[in-house]
């Protein structure tokens, strides 16, 4: 029975990664997706491998090899936590098929542990991106003892168990807090932003916390000793210290066992208890009549702001852009010093390129928003409402794009203004930076809509799947990022002639592409929308 559950979980995981709609993917598409995932995996492994090889080459001869594993396990844990903290909430406690499975003669612990097993597998995948290259790099640049190598393998097994236990616990708490609130979306989003803010603060100040990365001679992460757990890991592997490994193993196993025991015991209660939120009283009043276009746009905006999963995944660029802009404004002086330092070093007035850099930042961050891409997938069972309405699909698609632009533009403009003020850029280049970024926001809206229409995903139970997975989302995000990089690289050359030329080129190119997409939506996409889901 447990095997059957596991098989179905694996099938769902596989389908979520490779299947783009109810229709089966062709082998070609599957191969393409596998190659894409493999490429990303290899890229991360290579990047971490090179980093840890460099660290090992310096730290091992100094007798500080433990720092390599302390740092690697810290990054791996952060990655696992980051990857699973919100997934556990939706996959375990709010999964759509919990009630169905509980109605079957299946022991609840099987359901709980089959879900845990999949999440654990995902965590192992994430951990492998960091720990494996670190272990290999250390093996090449340094040397393992037999016991140290054994501890490395055991540590690899234990880390995801600890992170999963912690993320499950936090996910459960978030789930309880959110369910008691009237506006769950705001609560979950605030928790997410707080988590993000801490994460960025931590990453940006990692040197201050744990050590120095400025140059090879002063490379030092001895501050990691204060974290105990990561120090124990490093000491166990690099110095084959059995006592350190024992401390780490106990610190990982005991909390994990307690957490899994509690969650398993309370699983049925957690997933079946309906926590009632305060009832909203209906006040009779005459509502304003909106045009069809406004009604559709408002509906899309409403859709976005009532789903924390939608905000946190498809609006990541907005969240990160505003956080980074605020962080930059707090570090105004050091940024200004960096600009003037670079100017004197290169004997060029770098300050005139600052607006270009701000625009590049805006372009790249905007490309991380993909609000329109999952919007058709999210219609799913509600698609009949739009399809049976007396509204042209062109109007529907345009309303979705408008909603995207309305949501993203204010935050984008505010972020760029904050950066321009912080870096003291003149008015006209600042204005142009804003226009360039807004052109990217509009491009993102159209491109995402195109991907969403071409590759809708309707086989989801939990809306997280629609906003996180599938070819539409994946393609819109990476396609948008790729496009932003192309624009940035092309603009670097153009800005050597004149930054204004670079600005103008980006705006014109984005505008032309948006017009082409618009023409397609007006003429070719009508039938495509009408026949969706057949």
């Amino acid at each position: 029975m447990f095997k059957t559950l596991l098989k179905s979980r694996f099938a769902a995981l596989g389908a979520s990664l490779t299947q783009r709609s109810k229709k089966r993917n062709s082998n070609g598409t599957k191969v393409l997706l596998i190659i894409l995932f493999a490429f990303l995996g290899v890229y991360f492994v290579a990047a971490f491998g090179m980093m840890f090889f460099g660290f090992s080459a310096v730290l091992y001869p100094r007798g500080d090899g433990w720092q390599v594993f302390a740092l690697a396990s810290l990054i791996a844990s952060a990655l696992c936590m980051f990857g699973s903290i919100f997934t556990t909430k939706t996959q375990i406690f709010e999964s759509g098929d919990n009630e169905l499975l509980l109605s079957m003669p299946i022991p609840p612990r099987y359901i709980f542990f089959s879900r845990m097993a999949i999440l654990l597998l995902v965590n192992y995948g994430l951990e492998a991106l960091v720990m494996l290259p670190a272990m290999i790099a250390y093996g090449i640049a340094g040397r393992y003892s037999v016991l140290g190598f054994l501890f490395a393998i055991l540590t690899f097994i234990l880390i995801p168990m600890l992170t999963l236990a912690l993320s499950s616990l936090i996910g459960w708490v978030i789930s309880i807090i959110a369910s008691k609130m009237r506006n769950k979306t705001i609560v979950t989003t605030i928790l997410f932003v707080v988590f993000f803010a801490f994460y960025f603060y931590f990453v940006m100040n990692m040197g201050a916390f744990f050590g120095n990365m400025e140059d090879e001679a002063s490379l030092d992460f001895s501050g990691l000793k204060n974290t105990y757990i990561f120090y124990w890991i490093g000491d166990a592997i690099a110095n084959a210290n059995a006592l350190s490994f024992l401390f780490f193993a106990l610190a990982a196993i005991i909390p994990s066992a307690i957490t899994f025991y509690i969650l398993n015991r309370s699983f049925v209660k957690i997933v079946t208890t309906k926590r009632s939120a305060a009832k909203i009283k209906y006040k009779e009043r005459k509502e304003k009549q909106n045009s069809v276009y406004v009604a559709l746009t408002k509906k899309e905006i409403n859709r976005f702001f009532t789903s924390s999963a939608y905000i946190m995944n498809a609006g990541t660029g907005n969240i990160m852009m505003i956080i980074l802009a605020v962080v930059a404004s707090f570090n105004r002086e050091s940024l200004m010093m960096a600009v003037s330092g670079l100017s004197s070093e290169l004997s060029v007035d770098v300050s005139k390129y600052v607006p270009v850099v701000i625009a590049f930042f805006g372009i790249f961050m905007s490309s991380m928003n993909f609000i329109t891409a999952p919007s058709i997938s999210l219609e799913n069972k509600n698609l009949w409402i739009l399809q049976s309405s007396p509204v042209r699909p062109y109007t529907i698609l345009n309303a979705k794009i408008s909603a995207d632009i309305i949501i993203c533009t204010p935050l984008t403009v505010i972020s760029i203004i904050i950066l321009c003020i912080a870096l003291g850029t003149p008015f006209v280049p600042s204005l142009l930076s804003i226009l360039v970024t807004v052109s990217m926001v509009v491009f993102g809206g159209y491109f995402g809509m195109f991907m969403g229409l071409k590759f809708p995903k309707f086989d989801w139970q939990n809306e997280n799947v629609a906003v996180k997975q599938g070819f539409a989302v994946f393609g819109a995000m990476f396609g948008g990022m790729l496009w932003s990089i192309i624009l940035i690289v092309a603009s670097v050359f153009l800005s050597m002639i004149s930054p204004y030329l670079a600005f103008a080129a980006i705006i014109v190119v984005n505008a032309v592409i948006c017009l082409l997409f618009n023409a397609y939506f007006k003429n070719g996409a009508e039938k495509e929308f009408r026949l969706l889901k057949q």
Binding site: K279, I280, K281, Y282, K283, E284, R285, K286, E287, K288, Q289, N290, S291, V292, V294, A295, L296, K298, K299, N302, R303, T306, S307, K381, N382, W384, I385, Q387, S388, S389, P390, V391, R392, R530, L531, Q534
Partner: protein
Amino acid sequence: MLNISHLTKTYGEKKAVDDLSLHIKPGEMYAFIGHNGAGKTTTIKSCCGLLDFDDGDIYIDGISIKDDPIECKKRIAYIPDNPDLYEFMSGIKYLNFVGDIYGVKKDERFEKVKKYADMFEITNDLAQPISSYSHGMKQKLAIISALIHSPKLLIMDEPFVGLDPKAAFLLKEEMKKLCEAGGAIFFSTHVLEVAEKICNKIAIIKNGKLIVSGDMEEVKGDESLESVFLELEG
């Protein structure tokens, strides 16, 4: 009001609807019955412009759904077999959304929402998110959203599923009123007693083919609709 002419729809090799013709005039209430998988939902969805079909045509108020689907949809209200509504909206927001889409004026909308919400006893729940509604409440909301824009043709797929007896009674009353006002209704149902009691027309479909259609009294004669249906299906 609704003229289905030689409708044919195939899924791969299977003919879901095979050369089906049906004419529904203003004032008529047409029950559409058949076993599971007979082609009822396919026919209904084709009439609402939700499905493309291979052959034939469908006219709403004389307008072809193929040529001008938007004009046709302005005259129709459709209630699907499962009331999947926007769960992120509150009941009142959904009704206002539908009102906006169909251009229902502010005052008229207010009156109708009040009338139907009071009638179906969901006024106090209108500010609640639809995600908190029971199946029956969602069905009631879907019915209200269909009625607030005064459609000429009401097309429903199993409208009585999930409704409590009082709501089912109220729906039947509203259906009668709509037909008396010159509208027409075409709906599928498995509740033969309801069809027999309130409909003046009946169509029976079997394996995609229309096997009988016409006046209720003529089709069933002295027998019950159930025995006629079972006889024809057998």
